[in-house]
């Protein structure tokens, strides 16, 4: 085993990192397949939360610890829960849940388009000579805070307004016509 490792010219750390990467990638892709191919909407929603958690693990591998925490809180927490609530409020017929998420007639053309675009993206990734910049990455949370309030402060304020508008819009849309009339 140790001869093999020296032959590969890699430390045991690299191999552990690779094992974690493939483990998390397999979880993310398998859960995403479940989201796309399951016909039960509740299963899709729960597998979506699993996929989000796997992506958070990948962020940790990429040394983005702040974003990993945000991913767990916002996606696995808020978005997954709001989607489950959405499923609960929109499925009315009893017993229809196992077939609540059917696919339409476009399966073959959609598969062709998705395969073509994925192949194109993979080919582009492999054909591009990326300029790898080796350098110590700064600690993520202070650096993100610093750039949010200096270089990206306009976008930061725009995002704040966007969230406010989305919140008000969601409330007004979800209340419905009659409730808005009486208010």
């Amino acid at each position: 085993m140790s001869e093999l490792i020296t032959l590969l010219g890699q430390s045991a750390n690299d191999i552990v990192y690779a094992a974690w990467f493939y483990f998390l990638a397999a979880i993310v892709l398998a859960a995403a397949c479940g989201v796309v191919f399951k016909r039960n909407l509740v299963h899709s929603a729960l597998l979506l939360a699993v996929s989000f958690a796997g992506v958070a693990g990948l962020y940790i591998l990429l040394e983005a610890d702040f974003l990993a925490a945000v991913q767990l809180l916002v996606y696995s927490g808020a978005v997954a829960v709001i989607i489950v609530i959405g499923v609960m409020l929109t499925q009315r017929e009893a017993g229809a849940m196992p077939v609540s998420s059917p696919s339409n007639r476009l399966r073959l053309p959609a598969a062709l388009v998705a395969l073509f675009l994925t192949g194109l993206a993979v080919w582009t990734v492999l054909a591009t000579p990326w300029q790898a910049a080796a350098g110590p990455a700064p600690e993520s949370a202070p650096a993100i805070a610093q750039s949010l309030l200096t270089d990206f402060v306009v976008a930061f304020e725009a995002a704040a307004i966007l969230l406010l508008v989305a919140m008000i819009g969601a409330i007004i849309l979800a209340r419905g016509k009659e409730a808005n009339k009486t208010a």
Partner: protein
């Protein structure tokens, strides 16, 4: 012969275990393709919203991989990912509110029934 075979085998293993930018970008591409397929084939509006979230996650993986391997100095990729997460949260809230409004008025969340703009 034997030595070159061992060498090429070692090269393959090396490419598979030295996780770099390529691995994350290809994972992002695969996730994006899966989300796109679901986006085009799902009938239920909420399932379509879920597939959009998958695609946004794929983009975030790409951005953070770039931030780690290509431009680690300013963490601009991670800041972009923060904004994408913000927009995704706003999108899912407004999207679900629209679905609620449609379900209340039309008693359906199937996108195939939402064809009133057809003539």
């Amino acid at each position: 012969m034997n030595a070159s075979l061992v060498n090429s085998f070692a090269n393959i293993i090396h490419a598979a275990t030295a996780i770099g930018l390529y691995h994350f970008l290809i994972l992002g591409a695969l996730l994006f393709g899966l989300g796109l397929y679901g986006l085009l084939t799902k009938r239920n509006a909420i399932a379509v919203l879920m597939c959009i979230e998958l695609m946004l996650n794929a983009v975030n993986i790409n951005l953070i991989a770039f931030s780690r391997f290509v431009a680690p100095a300013g963490l601009a990729g991670q800041v972009f990912a923060v904004f994408i997460i913000t927009v995704a949260a706003a999108e899912i809230a407004v999207g679900l509110a629209l679905v609620f409004a449609i379900v209340r008025d039309r008693l359906t969340s199937s996108l195939d029934d939402l064809d009133w703009l057809k003539w």
